[in-house]
Every structure is written in structure tokens, then in C-alpha cells.
């Protein structure tokens, strides 16, 4: 003990070596391999990887219409999911943090968290059943949206909603009640108070939640396979190139697209203070 006490650097090294190794090898290593292999190609005849630098993959992605369409479609889905989650999460979180009694708050938080305990696959399949022709939705409402992009957005919103509620709830909990009272005291009605005080102060929390919903939606390929009908997102292209097409370099190149989009997104929201809310 006293040896370590006298050598604080050694102590620090002992503490951090395992997580650092994990971070460097597993996280950064995998990302580096992804980036490097994106510049490789596959021999069309033999199916062997050609480990020489080439921009061919990126040229294909940028020039061929289909990739642009899929990227835009994925962006649209991720954005729609995020907007839907915000619209649902703000009033829900407001109720939890400001209206509900302190004791029921805990139960509400648990209720928000419990869906996360169930398997993602099971929940997606549950929606497949709900949306099926002749399924529960059709028998109750007389019609079903069926499988497709709409169903994908619906199910992704359902899956990621908790990730939006929790940061907004945390943000609202830190918002002192006296600010709401002060606004009312100065003549503002509830709606005005919400627009002028609550919403501006919630923006960092909303962005924090959107980082989850946006990135999770952008990378998803399972939900869209289960309820998306024929529609394809970026994730499906990656998956198809790994599996059926056996073109790992091209899959890596496609996978850099959502990474790039997320980096741009993070830089854009950084100024709002969202990253401090995570």
C-alpha cells in the first residue's frame, strides 16, 4: 500500500491500464480498422480483399443515385423519429418532473425504463403482429398502416422514446419551480411561460436526447427489416454488403456515412450545451 502511495503515477497507471487498453483496442481499434478497410476493395472474381488504397468505394457511394436516396431516406427517418420523440417526451417529462407528486415520480421513471428491459427484437416483432393485415390495429381501427417507412418511424419512435424522456426529465428536475412562478408572477400565462422559460432552458436536454434517438435510428437495420416492408436504410446496405455481397470494404465505406453525419450533428449541437447534459 505505502509503495503505491508514494508513487502516485504508478497508482494511476494501475487504475487506468485496463480501461485504457479496452478503449484503445476495442473502441478506437475497431473504428480505425473500419476507416482503413473502407479504402480497400474486393476482387470481383476471386472475392479476395485487395489491400491497396483506393477511393473507388466512396466514388460509388457519391455517384450512384441509390446510395444518395438511401442516405436521405435514413436521415429523414432519423429526423422524423427524433421530432416525434421530442413531441411526446416534453409533455410526458414535464408531467413527471413538475406535476406528479414526488413519490409517484419514482414509479413513473421506472415505468419509462421497464420497456428497455425487454428485448429489442421481441418489441419489434410485437409491432409486426400489431401492424399485420388482419392484426389488432386493423380489427380495432378498421385499417392498418401496414409495413413500410411509416411503420419503421413509428416503431423506432416507440423504441427510443425513453432515451429522449430521461434527459428532458433530468433537465426539468433541475429547473427550479420558482422560475415558473416568477414568470406567472410577471404576468405570463402557462403557455407563455412554457415558450419563454421552459423551452429555452430545455434545449440542451432536448439535443442531448436527440443525440440518442438520431444516432440509434440512423444505425438501425433490424426494425426496418421487420416492419419496413421493402424499404432499406443505411444499416441494411451495410448488412447486405457484409453478408450476401461479401464486400466488407464497401460495407465499411457505407458505415462511415452515418458516422460522418453524427460527427457533423454533434459539432452542430455542441454549442447549445447539449454535450454537458449527457
Amino acid at each position: 500500500m505505502s509503495f503505491l502511495h508514494r508513487h502516485p503515477r504508478l497508482r494511476l497507471a494501475a487504475l487506468l491500464s485496463a480501461p485504457l487498453l479496452w478503449l484503445v483496442v476495442a473502441y478506437l481499434g475497431a473504428l480505425a480498422v473500419l476507416l482503413v478497410s473502407a479504402f480497400w476493395t474486393v476482387n470481383g472474381f476471386t472475392g479476395e480483399m485487395v489491400r491497396t488504397f483506393s477511393l473507388a468505394n466512396f466514388r460509388t457511394i457519391l455517384t450512384e443515385q441509390v446510395y444518395r436516396n438511401v442516405t436521405l431516406r435514413s436521415l429523414g427517418v432519423a429526423a422524423s423519429v427524433t421530432v416525434i420523440c421530442v413531441l411526446l417526451a416534453v409533455p410526458m417529462a414535464f408531467f413527471m418532473a413538475k406535476v406528479a407528486r414526488p413519490r409517484s415520480r419514482h414509479w413513473l421513471v421506472i415505468a419509462i425504463l421497464t420497456p428497455l428491459w425487454a428485448s429489442y427484437l421481441v418489441k419489434a416483432y410485437a409491432w409486426r403482429v400489431l401492424l399485420a393485415n388482419g392484426g389488432p390495429i386493423e380489427s380495432v381501427f378498421g385499417a392498418t398502416p401496414g409495413y413500410g417507412l411509416f411503420a419503421t418511424i413509428l416503431v423506432l419512435s416507440y423504441l427510443w422514446l425513453p432515451y429522449m424522456i430521461l434527459p428532458i426529465y433530468a433537465g426539468l428536475e433541475r429547473l427550479p419551480d420558482s422560475l415558473l412562478e416568477a414568470s406567472g408572477d410577471l404576468g405570463a400565462r402557462a403557455g407563455r411561460t412554457f415558450r419563454s422559460v421552459v423551452l429555452p432552458m430545455l434545449i440542451p436536454s432536448v439535443f442531448a436526447g436527440s443525440i440518442f434517438t438520431f444516432s440509434l435510428s440512423l444505425g438501425d437495420y433490424i426494425t426496418v427489416q421487420i416492419v419496413g416492408g421493402k424499404s432499406q436504410l443505411i444499416g441494411n446496405l451495410v448488412y447486405a454488403n457484409i453478408g450476401a455481397a461479401n464486400n466488407l470494404p464497401f460495407a465499411a465505406a457505407i458505415a462511415t456515412v452515418p458516422v460522418l453525419i453524427m460527427v457533423i450533428y454533434l459539432v452542430a449541437v455542441r454549442r447549445s450545451g447539449a454535450l454537458e447534459e449527457l
Binding site: S178, E181, G184, L186, G187, R189, V197
Partner: protein
Amino acid sequence: MNAIKLTGLRKSFGTVEAVAGVDLEIADGEFFSMLGPSGSGKTTVLRMIAGFELPTAGTVELGGRDVTRLAPFERDVNTVFQDYALFPHLSVQENVEYGLKVRKVPRKERRERAEQALASVRLTDFGRRRPAAMSGGQRQRVALARALVNRPKVLLLDEPLGALDLKLREQMQVELKAIQREVGITFVFVTHDQDEALTMSDRVAVFDGGKIVQVGSPEEVYERPASAFVAGFVGTSNVFTGEVAKALFDRAGTFSVRPEKIAFDGDAGAPGVVAEVIYAGAVTRYVVDLEAGARVVVVEQNRHGSPGTGLRGQRVRLSWHDEHVIEIPERKEPSDGA
């Protein structure tokens, strides 16, 4: 016309009765303090005047108009909050303009009035700052400007000086009083600090157990407390009851003598022994055990420098003038009932 009239005001939170029947009239232009220990209901009364809490029973009238069921934004009062409640995402200027903007005052007038209000609290060049970049005393003044700029009939202040250090607090007490005299509107000031209440107020209401136990000018409340609770809470007090009272005053009852009204007297007076000498800068406090069986506090000014601790253990005689003996009316105290 009364600025505020409260009738039979009650408020319960679950089974707890925070305010247990308050009747009160506050005159126009008065500096009125509500003084009491924490949990005595004074803040709840203030919040019912502001409209943040709905009374369980009773009515609130502002300028003769019944506002009991009206929302805060429908009442012509403004509040200075204990934590100031400044909007952190707005600049100081925007904070002060908030109430005017909500009420759709034109931009030019808004700007001018906000600048005036900031000038009146001596924060002329601070408009562009964020509240977070200001000291506690400055934030407090911004909160004051933000409330005053709306020219309310009544300004409610919820322990606004509680978070300031002593020096600043004393300075703000003087300033608040000056501002109130200048603008001439009714101030209702909630505090648990009796010095503050006595220094600033035209009248003081002393709260205990959700009820008002005495209302009067600072002199009345201090010199003629209506109960042992008031005598003890407003200033330090030596309260004598039972046998001790009989021995000292020749009759039964409850009596009180303020520490600064008691003098050491060579020959006459009640005999006792000095148990403790506490030097406190401007004054020295002596704790004396009287032979009659009571412990009393005596305060003397240190007119000739520190008296030293030489008196400790000495036999002394204490005397006071008859007119400084307060006979406290026998009455059941609400706080004793619990």
C-alpha cells in the same frame, strides 16, 4: 383603502395546517413585515397573496377586489423570490423587461423603463450581463428591479436578504427601505430575522403556528410583546413566571425585562452571581443567576472598552425601572398547544 385584506385565511397541506386562520389588513404604502420562525406560515400567507397557493378557506382582497381564486398573472402584485428566480438564459436587461414584454409594452418604452429600474437599484451598466456573472447582492437587486419595473400595487418579498452576508444585508436593508419610500408602494416583507423586521418596517406581524400572535409597530412589538412567545422571539428577553415572578415583582403573573434595560447596581436590586461574561464587540452580555431562582441576561455597552472577565463569579445586584417591566397577558399560546 387597504392594499391587502386577508379574511379567515387558511391553508392545509394534507393533514398539516400551515396557515390556521389569518385576518390582516395592510394599508396602502406601508412597509409591512411578517416575522416568525420557519414553519410558522408566513411564507405560505405571502404565496397566497401572490396566487401561487390557493387558500383552503378565507379570502384575499387586493385594493378592495377579491382575488382569492385568480391566477398570479391576473393579480397586480409582484414578488421578489428568496432564490431571486432570475431567468438564467436571459440577460439582466431581458430579465427586467420580461414582465413588460409579456404585457405587450412597446419596445421603446420597455427599454426606457428597464433602464430606469436598473438605475434605481444602481445597476446601470449591467444590462447585458447574464445573472450567472453577477454576485448575490447584484442578483438580488436585479430581482428587485424586475419586480418594480411593472409598477405593482404591492411588492411581496420572500426573505430576499437571507442569502446575503451580514454586511451586504444591512446595506440592502437601508436601500430597500429607501426604495420603498421613493416608489411609495406597499411592501410585504417575509423574514425570520427580527432585527431586519424591526429596522425596516412600519408594522410587524409576528407569526407562530400558522397564526398571527401580534401586529403592531416595531416599538409596540418590542416594548410591549403580547405574549411570552413574542417577547422571546423578538429580541432576547428575560421572562419571569411563577414563584420567581412573585419574589421579584410581589405579584403573580408573567413578566419580562429586556437585557439592555437591566443595570448593575451596587446596593439595591435583586442579588445574584455572574455565571458568564460574553464579550461581543459593541456590547458585553452577562449571564446572571439570581438568588430568586432565575437566570437572566444583562447587556451593557462597552463604552469604556472591554470590561474583561473579572466579574465572573462575583456577587452582584441587578436593578431595573418599573416602566421597563413588561407584564405579559396570560393567554394560551398556539405553540404551546401542540
